[in-house]
C-alpha cells in the first residue's frame, strides 16, 4: 500500500477535467434543485444536448463558435421540451417525468433511426480538433505540467483551464442571479409556490427560466466532457444525474460555493477510496473474499453509503444553512 501515491492520484483527479465538468453541471443542477426546488432527475439530457449539439456540427465541418452556439441552442430546446410539460407537476412527479425524458433522449440518440446524424451506438469521435487548435500548452508525449505526479498533460490542462474558468464565471453568474430580485423570487417559489403566486409572481415562468439556465450549465459541462473524450450515447445514463446530485448535496444544495467544493471533495474521496480499496485487495487484506475486479463496484457501494449518511446526518452538506434546505421539513 502506497499511501502517498493514492493521495496524489486522488488529488490529481479532484482538480481534473471530470471534476471540473461535474462542478459545472452541479452549478446548473444547484440552480434548479437547490435554489428553485425543481427535482430534475433528467439533468443528463442537458449534458447530452450540449455534447451532441457541439459534436454534430463540428463533424460536419462547422467552425467552433457556430458549433458552440448550436450546443447551447440544443440544450435550450431540450430544456423547453422537458420543462414545458414537466414543470407544472408536483415535486415527485417532476422527478419521474424528467428521469423518463432524459432516457427518451438517450434512446433516440442511440437509435438506428438517428444514426445518420448521431452515429447511433458508435457515437461521434475525433471532432474536437478545432477546440484543441486553441490549446496554448505544449502537447508533446512527454510534456507534463505540474509538480511530480501532481501534473497533467497539455491536452487535459487545456480542457481543465476552460472548464474551471467556466466554473468560476458560472459561480459568479449564479451569485449575481441569486442576489438579484429574480433570485429572491425563485427562492420564494421553492419555499412556497402559492405564496409566491399570490404575490403576483409567475411561478411557471420563473421555474422555466431557472430550468433553462441550469440546463445551459449542464450543456457546457457536456460539451467539455465531449471535447475531452468522445460522444457516446451510453455515457448519458440516468445514473450520471444521480452522481451530480451527490456532488451537489455534498457541497450543500442551495449554496453558491457548494458545487465547486462538492466536486473537488467528491472526486478526491471517490478516487482515494478507489486506490485504497484496490491496493488493500492487492495486499490481500481480505484473503480470497474479494478480487481486484471487485474494487470498481465496491467504491460505488461506499458512494451509496456516503450519500445515505450525508442526507441523514448533514442534509445541508458542507456549506448549507439548515433552515434553507429543501431537504428538511421546516
Amino acid at each position: 500500500m502506497n499511501w502517498g501515491e493514492i493521495t496524489v492520484d486522488a488529488l490529481r483527479t479532484s482538480f481534473g477535467v471530470t471534476a471540473a465538468a461535474y462542478a459545472l453541471a452541479a452549478i446548473g443542477l444547484n440552480l434548479q434543485f437547490g435554489f428553485t426546488g425543481l427535482m430534475n432527475f433528467g439533468h443528463i439530457a442537458s449534458l447530452a444536448a450540449g455534447a451532441y449539439g457541439v459534436a454534430i456540427p463540428l463533424e460536419e465541418g462547422a467552425p467552433l463558435w457556430l458549433a458552440l452556439l448550436c450546443g447551447l441552442a440544443a440544450s435550450i430546446v431540450v430544456s423547453l421540451f422537458l420543462g414545458l410539460p414537466a414543470l407544472r407537476l408536483r415535486l415527485d412527479y417532476l422527478a419521474i417525468a424528467t428521469i423518463a425524458g432524459g432516457e427518451i433522449l438517450r434512446l433516440i440518440l442511440r437509435s438506428r433511426w438517428a444514426e445518420p446524424v448521431t452515429q447511433g451506438v458508435y457515437g461521434i469521435q475525433q471532432f474536437s480538433d478545432s477546440f484543441f487548435d486553441l490549446n496554448p500548452y505544449p502537447t508533446g508525449p512527454t510534456d507534463r505540467i505540474g509538480i511530480g505526479d501532481f501534473s497533467y498533460d497539455g491536452r487535459s490542462l487545456w480542457v481543465m483551464t476552460v472548464c474551471w474558468s467556466l466554473v468560476i464565471i458560472g459561480t459568479l453568474v449564479v451569485w449575481m442571479l441569486i442576489k438579484s430580485p429574480w433570485g429572491r423570487a425563485i427562492k420564494a417559489v421553492r419555499e412556497d409556490e402559492y405564496a409566491a403566486r399570490s404575490l403576483g409572481k409567475n411561478v411557471f415562468f420563473l421555474r422555466m427560466q431557472s430550468f433553462t439556465i441550469g440546463g445551459v450549465f449542464g450543456a457546457l459541462a457536456g460539451m467539455l466532457l465531449a471535447f475531452d473524450r468522445n460522444v457516446n450515447p451510453d455515457f448519458y445514463l440516468v445514473v450520471f444525474t444521480f452522481l451530480i446530485y451527490a456532488v451537489m448535496l455534498l457541497g450543500g444544495a442551495g449554496t453558491i460555493l457548494g458545487p465547486i467544493v462538492g466536486a473537488i471533495l467528491y472526486w478526491f474521496m471517490f478516487e482515494w477510496l478507489d486506490g485504497f480499496v484496490l491496493s488493500s485487495i492487492q495486499d490481500g487484506w481480505y484473503g480470497e473474499a474479494l478480487e481486484e475486479s471487485d474494487a470498481g463496484p465496491i467504491r460505488f457501494v461506499l458512494l451509496g453509503l456516503g450519500l445515505v449518511l450525508l442526507i441523514v446526518f448533514r442534509p445541508q452538506g458542507i456549506f448549507g444553512k439548515k433552515e434553507e434546505v429543501l431537504l428538511s421539513d421546516s
Partner: protein, 469 residues
C-alpha cells in the same frame, strides 16, 4: 424568506436581472424555441456548402471508426439474392452468446453488415432473430438459425454466414405475429405487475418514491438463484426455492422498514430527502450484487430448454404460460385480500387518506410494514419470473425501474389495482408496439406513455383525483 420586490404586484422580475421579466417573458421562450429550431435546421446547410474539405476529413474519421480493430469479433454481411443481384438486408438482429451468457447483440446496417466484439478467443454461438427479418424473408435452412461452435482465434474477426431466402414453411401470418406479440406482452406485463404493486403501495401509504425498488426485484431473483443454482447453495429445485426466496426478501425488506425507515421518519426527515436516500441505497445494493453475484448474465438450473407448445395462434413455452397463470392468480388473490380482509381494507384506507385512516384507529406504521413485506415478496417473485423467462444479472431490476414507474403512473400511483392494470398495459404496449415500429423504440413508447399520462391525468387511470394537488 427575503421579500425583495414582493410589494410590486405586477413585476415578475422587477429590473436588474438578465432574465426577461414581466409581460415580455411570455413571448421570450417562444422566440427562443423558434430561433433555436431555425438554427438547428439551417446549420447543416451552411456546413455542406462551405466545407468540402472538412467533409472529407469527417468521412475519413468515420471510416476509421468502423474499421474492425485488433480485438476479437464476429461479423458478417446479410444479403439476399434478388434477380441475380445481391441486395443487403438491414435491420436484422444477431446475438452472440457463450453458454447462457449473452455477449452482445448487433443489428445489420444499411449495407447488411454487422459486427459484435467478443471478449476473448473461444467458442461462441451466433443466432439470428428470424422475426427481425423483413416479412416473407427467412433462412434457406431454418435449422441454421443458431450456429453453435463458432470458434474465434486470437485477434481474429470471424466471419459467419446466414443464408437468406424466401421464408419456407415457417412463414408467420400477421394475425399469428400479432397474437404472439400480445402474449409476449401479457407475459412481460404480468412480471411488471407483480414488481410494481409494492412500489405503488409504498408510495400510497407513505408517500415515498422508492428509487431502490428495482433492487428488491433483483434481490428476490438472486436469493432464488442462491437456493437453486449456486455452487455453495442447497441446489433445490426452483419450484421449492421460489417461496423461501419470496419470504426471505419480504423479511429483509420488512426488517429494513423497522430498522431503517422508521428511525428516519422519527427524525422528521422529509420525503424528498428520503427519496434521495433511496438513490443512495440503490447504489449500495446494486453494486453489492455486482460484487457478490458478478456482472455476468446467468440462468437458473431449471426450465432453460423447453419444447414450444402451440395454443391457437400462439407459440410459446410452458414456462411462460405458467408465469402468466400464476401471476394472474396471485394478483387476483391480492385483490381479494385488499377488498375483503381487515388488513386489506386498512391498506386501502391509508392509501386513500392517511390522516383520516389514522384518526379512525388504523395503525398506519403497521400497515406500512405489511405493505413493504407484501410488495417485496411479490417483487421477488416478479424477479424470479423475469429470470426464468429471460436471464439474471445484477442490473435486471434497475433495468425494469423506469418501466415500473410507467406502470404505476399509468394505472394510478398509490393504488394496488392501478399498478396491476398499469403493469399489464405497459407490458402489452411495449411488446405489441414492435408490430408497427422498430423494437429499439419499444422503451421509448413506454416512457412517452408515462410522460403523457403525467400531463393529462397525473392520478392515473384508477387513481384518486386528490393526489394531484
Amino acid at each position: 424568506m427575503p421579500s425583495g420586490n414582493f410589494g410590486k404586484p405586477n413585476g415578475v422580475d422587477a429590473g436588474g436581472t438578465p432574465i426577461a421579466g414581466g409581460s415580455k417573458s411570455l413571448a421570450l421562450p417562444g422566440l427562443v424555441v423558434l430561433a433555436s429550431l431555425v438554427v438547428l435546421l439551417l446549420a447543416p446547410l451552411f456546413f455542406n456548402l462551405g466545407s468540402s474539405t472538412g467533409a472529407g476529413a469527417a468521412e475519413l474519421a468515420q471510416a476509421e471508426t468502423t474499421q474492425p480493430d485488433e480485438a476479437e469479433s464476429i461479423r458478417g454481411r446479410l444479403v439476399i439474392t434478388e434477380d441475380g443481384e445481391r441486395v443487403p438486408v438491414p435491420g436484422a438482429e444477431i446475438t452472440v452468446s457463450q453458454g447462457n451468457n449473452i455477449i452482445g447483440t448487433a443489428v445489420s446496417d444499411s449495407d447488411g453488415q454487422w459486427q459484435i466484439e467478443v471478449p476473448a478467443e473461444g467458442i461462441y454461438s451466433v443466432s439470428i432473430n428470424v422475426n427481425s427479418l423483413p416479412e416473407g424473408m427467412g433462412l434457406t435452412d431454418p435449422d441454421r438459425q443458431t450456429l453453435t461452435d463458432v470458434s474465434v482465434s486470437e485477434g481474429q474477426s470471424k466471419a459467419v454466414i446466414f443464408r437468406l431466402g424466401e421464408a419456407v414453411g415457417s412463414s408467420v401470418s400477421r394475425v399469428e405475429r400479432f397474437a404472439n406479440l400480445f402474449f409476449s406482452g401479457l407475459r412481460f406485463g404480468s412480471i411488471l405487475a407483480l414488481c410494481s404493486v409494492g412500489l405503488s403501495l409504498v408510495f400510497g401509504v407513505s408517500g415515498l418514491v422508492n428509487f431502490a425498488h428495482g433492487e428488491i426485484v433483483t434481490l428476490g431473483a438472486l436469493v432464488a438463484f442462491f437456493l437453486n443454482a449456486s455452487e455453495g447453495g442447497p441446489q433445490i429445485s426452483l419450484l421449492a426455492a421460489a417461496v423461501p426466496a419470496m419470504l426471505i426478501t419480504g423479511v429483509l425488506i420488512g426488517g429494513m422498514e423497522i430498522g431503517f425507515w422508521r428511525p428516519l421518519r422519527d427524525r422528521k426527515i422529509s420525503l424528498v430527502s428520503l427519496s434521495l436516500v433511496t438513490i443512495g441505497l440503490s447504489f449500495m445494493l446494486r453494486y453489492s450484487f455486482a460484487v457478490v453475484f458478478g456482472t455476468d448474465f446467468r440462468s437458473y438450473r431449471d426450465y432453460n430448454i423447453q419444447d414450444p407448445v402451440e395454443i391457437g395462434w400462439i407459440t410459446t413455452t410452458p414456462k411462460n404460460l405458467v408465469i402468466v397463470i400464476i401471476s394472474i392468480g396471485l394478483l387476483a388473490g391480492l385483490g381479494l385480500f385488499l377488498m375483503n380482509t381487515r388488513s386489506g381494507i386498512g391498506i386501502r384506507a391509508v392509501s386513500a387518506n392517511r390522516e383520516l385512516a389514522s384518526v379512525a384507529g388504523i395503525d398506519v406504521s403497521n400497515v406500512l410494514l405489511t405493505v413493504w413485506i407484501i410488495g417485496a415478496a411479490l417483487s421477488a417473485l416478479g424477479g424470479i419470473f423475469y429470470g426464468i423467462s429471460e436471464q439474471l444479472d445484477w442490473l435486471m431490476g434497475f433495468r425494469l425501474l423506469l418501466l415500473m414507474f410507467a406502470a404505476v403512473i399509468l394505472g394510478g400511483i398509490g393504488t394496488a389495482f392501478g399498478a396491476m392494470l398499469g403493469g399489464f398495459l405497459i407490458g402489452i404496449i411495449v411488446e405489441v408496439s414492435t408490430y408497427w415500429i422498430d423494437s429499439e423504440f419499444k422503451l421509448v413508447v413506454a416512457l412517452v406513455v408515462l410522460v403523457a399520462m403525467l400531463m393529462v391525468r397525473p392520478q392515473g387511470l384508477l387513481g384518486l383525483k386528490e393526489r394531484t394537488a
